[in-house]
């Protein structure tokens, strides 16, 4: 019978939540890598038993873990992320040059077609790739060296490369996003890159429409329609219909357009989800009500989804990589909170319930739909 596997990264370990297609009863496995920060865990679309996890610690640095059995057992693989050439400098918070320094891997993105090929988005922002199952990593340095790199500046959470999206119809095309540099695209497999931030307006930077410097929080795309991108920016929910060449705001009637996550329904490319957060200084839902907002019109018109979610005294956050969808016939939507809850909806967001309530703060949620 088909089922789903939810891969949860938390501040103190990874958890694997499994269920059958009904998604009513869940088995919880974990913590894996207990005590370590697990920024992200993701499975290979080409081999669902192949998983990659980013494991890190302020004491012991960065590890990459690999599983070949769907998360039952793990083995550490390569953790050497060395910038290509002389790294140079980017801007620090005070605007002064600051040397590029590796801190951690925020996001692992397995190739759509090859289980041994995997991308890693790191802080300080750079994109790495492994072609041997995570043993060895090389920087795709055309991104960092494309010209604007010395002007990139960290957001409050660090200068992280957090979104990596592969175009399923064009293997040479990748989209990435960096907080707080913006979004970038390559059309030649990572050799050369261009910023794709036209249309973004960030009132908190010196030039609100600058080529780079925008605090993009997350990108999303539907696999069947790779030219259409959605973005949760620091403030503003944005949409592009031309692969990022131009963005337009689709925040519409959201109660606040600040937030971190954004995702797309598995079967309807015009249905998108966000979790509005009050503001950049108050990282919790407005009015203490945890509400997912769904647009079935590709943005602008949003409805609050509240059934099963706490509607009073809720002050958790939902971090940028902590929402995912499954591709069961009735699309499942999942998100995790800094309060340690993982909420699931088996009916595209109409009804929610927690799978687990008391995990460490959730950093990331990914879902695998298993045959």
């Amino acid at each position: 019978m088909s089922g789903v596997r939810v891969l949860v990264g938390t501040r103190k370990g990874a958890f694997v939540l499994s269920s059958d297609g009904k998604r009513e009863k869940w088995d919880i496995s974990g913590p894996h890598f207990a005590g370590w920060e697990i920024y992200h865990v993701k499975g290979s679309p080409a081999d669902p038993n192949r998983l990659y996890a980013s494991q890190c610690s302020g004491w012991f640095g960065q590890m990459i873990q690999r599983s070949n059995d769907g998360g039952k057992t793990w083995e550490p693989v390569g953790n050497k992320f060395i910038y290509d050439g002389v790294p140079g400098t980017h801007q620090w918070y005070d605007g002064k040059p600051h040397p590029w320094e590796f801190k951690r891997v925020w996001h692992v993105e397995p190739s759509l077609t090859d289980p041994d090929t995997v991308y890693a988005g790191i802080e300080d922002a750079a994109l790495f790739r492994s072609k041997d199952g995570g043993q060895n990593w090389e920087e795709l340095s055309g991104l960092r060296k494309h010209g604007s790199g010395p002007r990139w500046q960290p957001g409050a959470g660090g200068m992280c490369l957090h979104s990596i999206i592969q175009d399923p119809k064009n293997p040479g095309r990748l989209f990435i996003a960096i907080s707080a540099a913006g979004a970038f695209r390559t059309d030649d497999g990572g050799e050369t890159w261009q910023p794709i931030n036209k249309g973004l307006k960030s009132l908190y930077i010196p030039d609100p429409e600058a080529e780079v410097g925008h605090c993009v929080h997350h990108l999303a795309m539907h696999q069947a329609r790779p030219g259409v991108l959605f973005m949760q920016k620091h403030w503003d929910v944005m949409r592009s219909d031309n692969g990022g060449d131009l963005w337009r705001e689709v925040s519409g009637n959201l109660p606040t357009d600040f937030g971190f996550v954004i995702d797309v329904h598995a079967h309807d490319p015009e249905t998108i989800y966000v979790v509005p957060i009050k503001s950049d200084s108050e990282h919790y839902p407005p009015d203490g009500k945890l509400r997912v907002y769904r647009s079935q019109t590709g943005g602008n018109e949003w409805e609050a989804l509240t059934r099963g979610l706490p509607q009073s005294d809720c002050y958790v956050n939902v971090l940028r990589d902590a929402m995912a969808v499954d591709s069961m016939d009735s699309c499942g939507v999942y998100f995790g909170t800094t309060g340690g809850q993982v909420y699931a909806s088996a009916d595209a967001g109409d009804n929610w319930k927690p799978i687990v309530r008391d995990l460490p703060a959730v950093l990331s949620v990914e879902v695998q739909t298993l045959a």
């Binding site: 610690s57 302020g58 004491w59 012991f60 640095g61 960065q62 590890m63 953790n79 050497k80 060395i82």
Partner: protein, 98 residues
């Protein structure tokens, strides 16, 4: 034979319980002992010393014979009691994070 005690998280990472005993070729220094430790456990490079600089990670310390060796030269000879195996070299994770 040099004895090394690793912090619990690194023992878990290395799937190893207890005290490590290492044959260290040549002079026993922090550098040569860590080289031998990393050769024995290939998952450890980068966890005790930074990959590029080979410097001690900031939240780790090295102790032996009641002394803090963390700021000694990586190439300084280790105490005789460590070299003889009478005392272990302790790799300690800082008590931090509160």
């Amino acid at each position: 034979m040099i004895r090394v005690v690793m912090p619990a998280h690194l023992r878990t990472l290395a799937s190893f319980h207890g005290e490590v005993q290492l044959e260290v070729p040549g002079a026993a220094t922090l550098r040569s002992v860590l080289d031998a430790l990393e050769a024995r456990f290939p998952m450890l490079p980068g966890t005790i010393r930074e990959h590029v600089t080979q410097e001690r990670r900031p939240f780790l310390r090295f102790f032996a014979c009641g002394e803090d060796l963390s700021h000694d030269s990586m190439d300084a000879p280790l105490p005789d009691a460590v070299v003889s195996g009478a005392e272990p070299l302790l790799i300690i994770g800082a008590i931090a994070g509160g």
